[in-house]
Amino acid sequence: MPFAIGTWLACAAFFSFLIAGPANPFLTIANPPPDGPGPNPLLQNHLLMIIHPPMLYLGYVGMTIPFGFACAALLRGRLGHSFLRPLRASLLLPWIFLTVAIMLGGWWAYEVLGWGGYWAWDPVENASLLPWLTATAALHSAIVLERRGVLKGWTVTLVQATFLLTILGTFMTRSGVFNSVHSFTQSSIGPTILAFLAAALLFSVVLLALRIDSLESDGRIESAASREGMFLVNNLLFLILTFTVLIGTVFPLVAEAINGKQMSVGRPYFDAMVVPIGTALLFLIGVGPALPWGRGTREEILRATLPPLATGVVVAAIGYAVGVRNGWTIVTLLFGGYAAHVTLKEMWLPVARSGTSALRRGRRRFGSYVVHAGAVVVLIAIAVSSTTRTSREVRFSRGDSASIGAYTVTFLGAEDRAEPHRQSTIARFAVTKNGRAVTTLAPRMNQYATMREPIGTPDVHSTLAGDLYLSILNVDVAQQRVALHLIVTPMVMWIWIAALVMGLGGLLALIPVRRTSVILTQSAAKGKDLEMADSFGMTS
């Protein structure tokens, strides 16, 4: 414990120094204007902006705690169960914050930025995703460590990488080096954070090199076609994904350093690289839990892995029947159906065997499958929403109508509204679906006193089936004309719901189970139901 406390205090000392010196928020400015510019207008107009930043902050800062435990394990040369439990719990809590924060950021971008998407592979978006990927990998490798006593060095490496990526993310956001929608402010703390990142990297690498061999494995992985084998593949995929996103994010800096040309790595690179890896991970969400621990017989493996395939085929066929034609989306539906079958079966089996008390005893395990269920829905919703959306741009005069999908939109008129901090032009649209009135939408253009260009605020009609999204391109109140971007995107709301379910599942896995229940669980684990204890929460 002294080593862990020492690590936390070293981090706390740096950030205290940062706020006392280079980033002192209490310094007075030389020529204060009579009225300051206020926050960036994009940050002023949505409730989610109050929740997203503190959640992300808790996710980032929270990763310091498992980092301290990982460093302590290396310094002690031991990583037993007494250390593994707090390490896993302290990793899971910030992971929950980070999961929900990333979703909230996407939701905010969707509701505010006006282009109808929720993820743009922006450097700072990527900065939040990178530690999430390595933390997710670490949570999985910790399960193998607990069950098989292997991957000790690997697990602490992933935990260290997670912390270092949060510092890299802080640098990306605050240095002004990356061109991002998050470049809301300019500050001079980039070099100081870079120095800390360099020091933390050096410390971690040297510590790992010196001590990793002291963390000896207590067992070994017997077969690739086993649950632990799939965990290992899962870890490799998460690692490849992390490097893919990291390289895509820093590549513009490399290109500019080498040939002096400004460039950006956009969606084509990330989509081409990330979609296949994400699909493979979805496959593992299904196949991994279906396989037995250790070495299973050929019959066992086939009996466990073949039946869910039928569900996958049915889900893919339903997708095809309702109009999905993108190859990757069909594959996502196939693997998603497969994974959903396995996940629901694993959630249901203990209840079928021993009633609802199994949920209380096996809360860790149940919670982890709730996370898997959420992840399956998120991945399917991302695939469907990004490949089946339809959009059109239409010019309206007052009274004109236009149709998109099942919706018909009629322009009712535009008006100006003056507020103390901005001038808004609001266009109102009546929306009908299959001839029935459903809502009125009012997208607007805002001119803030402190901004060079006007900023649009879209308006969205959300349903479980899909969203109708209206965003103004141009509006003329005098002529009562408007140019409008109309977008219909299926399943978007499922991303927000399922990501919340993932957070909830994480919380279920985190809540400690009473000791008497643990004893019952462990005695059950000795028998047939070995997998009762596996999941990524804590049991103490």
């Binding site: 002004g176 080096v177 070099p191 990142l197 990297l201 690498v205 790992l208 990793i212 400004q262 060079r452």
Partner: protein
């Protein structure tokens, strides 16, 4: 000591830190304009107040600063004193020109009356000159050398430091 871990870890860490360190000096918000290095598009616009036409051709042989602005642009209010101070400081050595677009003459005259004027302000009635210069928003400032070549461009309100750093390229 596990040497592979040390070497691979150090290599990844060193590469990452080196790339980030090199990037520290860059401002990705300042996208280089394709206009830089090219002759400034010609224009002849009416001066606000006097009504006289000012032709850019007539300013050859003097380093010139062309500042695009508008009275509805709040950052332009912030920038205006910087332009006036520097125009007075450099006197006849540097020619300052303001080009106002998407605006009306009465508002411009009111603005200049209240906040002062130290150089000609031209009215780009239909915004043709702003389009020719590829202006994306206001304020935006172009720095021309003695031969009328655009040597620098700055988007957003300038401070004196920014103005003088860019002007240096035009005077050289």
């Amino acid at each position: 000591m596990n040497r592979p871990v040390l070497f691979i870890g150090t290599a990844i860490a060193a590469a990452l830190i080196a790339v980030l360190f090199v990037g520290l000096g860059n401002d990705p918000q300042q996208i280089r304009s394709p206009m830089i290095g090219r002759p400034a598009p010609a224009f002849a616009l009416k001066e606000v107040g006097t009504g006289q036409t000012l032709d850019l051709q007539a300013l050859r042989d003097t380093p010139t600063i062309i500042n695009f602005w508008a009275t509805w642009c709040m950052p332009c209010y912030q920038e205006h004193p910087v332009l006036i101070d520097n125009a007075r400081l450099f006197g006849s050595k540097v020619q300052f020109v303001g080009v106002v677009f998407n605006d009306d003459e009465a508002s411009i005259q009111k603005f200049l009356r209240e906040r002062g004027s130290a150089f000609p302000t031209l009215l780009d009635q239909q915004g043709k000159t702003a389009i020719a210069y590829g202006v994306g928003g206001v304020p935006e400032t172009f720095f021309l050398d003695r031969q009328g070549i655009i040597v620098a461009k700055f988007s957003g309100p300038m401070t004196t430091d920014v103005l003088q750093a860019n002007l240096e390229k035009a005077i050289r």
